[in-house]
């Protein structure tokens, strides 16, 4: 833009006159024009000169960038062993030169990123190390929260924040009912539709109900609810606590003698542990309703027939296997959310970064735990 406004270009000329190297410069030497002369100035050959004269009196515009180019060139000549006999610049730019000249002019060493095997291995090592540190941190926090929880059980009248806990149950439980209900209803519909599509080829339409009932009650109900809640409430925990950290609210609480675990962490984790089983139950029911509806329209299975078939397909254990996971998932989601919230540093970017991390970690842990539960239940024979 600057060059468009300014038709002329900066120029310089190098003359060798015996032992004297003469650099003559003119035109606009500003930040917008610097690129035109930068490389050329670096490449000036001093040959056998022993004396240098720099005449920039024809420069008609100079800013800090232009001044730096002149001073850098002078420094280059000096380094090459030349004696500087003249350094002429227009009088009105003298103060500008003064500002830069009095600074210690050392070109900075920037961090250069090498693309190589070593750099790759280094990154891999750093990432692995970070994951391990993170794992140890979460494990440590798990222990700490568990200890705090036992303290809470031991002396409930001193530690329990009843209002805060109930408030959390409302936030993470009741307020999540619409989204969880809608999504699980749709998942019931999808499962029934896909099941019917496949099983009707073998004339086993009725087994759609079995597949739906077992799939939803054992696995999908709790798993999908937990994932929704990790995205909805786990992230909220991190963002809320993280923002308080940025604002120094956490520090303020500590100086007032408030126990952060009692006031902020346990109400959230406890609220979630209480709310998630109920949410899971609600999710199971909604998915079955969606499935029943689809069975009726797609396969003509009436609601009484659906219920009879469901009754045969599943027993209380199927339902309990799903339900028992809910508080465990809730505990992990709440704990990770709070842990990352407390890790937030005092800058705004950190809140966003750690919120993302909290969601990724809690979803990851939920799925890993779910796999662990499957192995355990199959060994136990449920």
């Amino acid at each position: 833009m600057g060059s468009a406004m300014n038709a002329s270009n900066p120029w310089f000329r190098v003359d060798h006159d015996g032992q004297t190297l003469r650099l003559t410069a003119g035109g606009p030497w500003t930040v917008y024009h610097a690129a035109a002369v930068d490389a050329g100035l670096r490449a000036i050959a001093t040959n056998n000169a022993s004396v240098a004269e720099i005449d920039a009196s024809q420069v008609d515009a100079l800013d800090t960038t232009g001044a730096w180019l002149l001073l850098r060139t002078r420094a280059l000549f000096k380094d090459a062993g030349l004696k500087i006999n003249r350094f002429d610049i227009p009088q009105n730019y003298q103060p500008l030169i003064g500002v830069i000249e009095r600074e210690d002019l050392v070109a900075p060493a920037e961090v250069v990123t090498h693309v190589s095997l070593v750099a790759f291995l280094e990154r891999l090592g750093r990432a692995t190390h970070a994951v391990m540190i993170q794992g140890v941190g979460i494990l440590g926090y798990l222990g700490r929260i568990t200890v705090e929880w036992f303290k809470l059980m031991y002396a409930p009248q001193r530690h329990v924040r009843f209002t805060a806990t109930v408030n959390q149950i409302e936030q993470v439980g009741i307020n999540a009912l619409p989204i969880v209900g809608l999504l699980m209803f749709l998942i019931g519909v999808v499962l029934a539709y896909q099941g019917a599509d496949q099983l009707s080829r073998f004339g086993l339409d009725i087994l759609t109900v079995n597949a739906l009932g077992i799939g939803v009650l054992r696995e999908l109900g709790v798993l999908i609810t937990a994932i929704i809640i990790a995205g909805r409430s786990g992230s909220a925990f991190t963002a809320e606590i993280g923002t308080m950290k940025v604002n120094e609210e956490i520090d303020a609480m500590q100086t007032m003698g408030l126990n952060i675990d009692d006031v902020l962490i346990l109400p959230r984790v406890t609220g979630l542990v209480i709310a998630l089983p109920f949410l899971t139950f609600f999710a199971d029911v909604m998915a079955l309703i969606g499935g029943a509806l689809m069975c009726y329209f797609q396969l003509g299975i009436t609601v009484p027939a659906f219920i009879r078939q469901l009754h045969e397909a599943v027993n209380v254990n199927t339902f309990l296997v799903g339900m028992i996971k809910a508080p465990v998932f809730a505990y992990v989601i709440g704990m990770v959310g709070c842990y990352e919230g407390l890790n937030v540093e005092r800058n705004a970017a950190s809140v966003g970064k750690l919120t993302t991390r909290a969601v990724v970690e809690s979803v990851f842990l939920v799925i890993v735990l779910d796999a662990g539960f499957s192995v355990m239940f199959s060994i136990l024979g449920f």
């Binding site: 300014n6 930040v31 610097a34 800090t64 500002v99 800058n347």
Partner: protein, 263 residues
């Protein structure tokens, strides 16, 4: 661009910023009631006023972050409220803004922050950009070690210096400073005042600043504009102090005012 600067500096007393009949209404509350203000080239003008009197709003209106309800704002004779994108870009290269908390981009190092305007507006090699960033950081009194740090690793004073380096990187003609010394200890604040004064003189800058700091007023402001009762009273400190307005009297003659102004 700098060519014009020099020519203008030589041949004109025309104001670089000219505000006429500015009316700002925020959420039903009248903040500015037909304000007029001229800022001359090469001067340091300080806007003072009570909390919530609309000092920062005035600054934000000039740099185009807020739109007033009525009035005109001209910067370098160009309409700053015009919506012409290219004209606005051209203006934006001729001013730099230092925000109260620095507003450094937190995901970039200090050097990268300083290079952002270079990367956007001036095409040059990375090597030269590094050098210029180092020069600017040295000018604001930051050492090489600060260049590779992230904003979160800097103290408040260093953040302001780094942010000033970013504001100055294109050699603007006007710098806007929003509370440049707030949050700094008195020594750091003095040093910052001195830095601004030195740079203002050697780079021939026009400085428009919003401040609370009476010491800053005394040591670097050529003129003061006081925002009281939704209007501006402009003059040198001595002139403004003679005003009978109770707020102005309180401000300049209160214990802090007397201490700072030594009267």
């Amino acid at each position: 661009m700098a060519v014009e600067t020099q020519q203008n500096a030589q041949n004109t007393d025309e104001p670089v910023i000219s505000i006429r009949g500015l009316v700002t209404n925020l959420g039903g509350r009248l903040i500015h009631d037909h304000i007029d203000l001229d800022v001359r080239r090469g001067e340091v003008i300080a806007i003072v006023g009570g909390s919530g009197s609309g000092k920062s709003v005035l600054l934000r209106s000039i740099v185009g972050l807020m739109r007033p309800q009525e009035g005109t704002i001209e910067v370098f004779g160009e309409d700053a409220l015009a919506t012409d994108e290219t004209a606005l870009r051209r203006l934006q290269q001729r001013w730099g803004v230092l925000f109260q908390e620095g507003a450094l981009f937190s995901s970039q190092t200090v050097a990268e922050n300083v290079q952002v305007p270079l990367r956007e507006y001036a095409k040059m090699s990375q090597e030269l950009m590094n050098e210029i960033a180092a020069v600017k950081l040295a000018m604001v009194g930051l050492g090489e070690d600060a260049a590779t740090k992230f904003p979160s690793e800097l103290s408040g004073g260093m953040k302001k210096r780094a942010s000033l380096a970013r504001a100055l990187v294109l050699d603007p003609e006007i710098v806007f400073l929003d509370e440049p010394t707030s949050g700094l200890d008195p020594i750091a604040a003095n040093a910052f005042d001195e830095l601004i004064r030195n740079l203002q003189k050697s780079l021939n800058l026009t400085v428009f600043m919003v401040t609370h700091d009476l010491d800053t007023l005394r040591s670097i402001a050529d003129r003061v504009a006081v925002l009281v009762n939704r209007t501006l009273k402009v003059g040198t400190i001595a002139e403004v102090m003679r005003d009978k307005d109770p707020w102005i009297q309180d401000y300049f003659s209160g214990p802090r005012g007397r201490a700072a102004l030594g009267s």
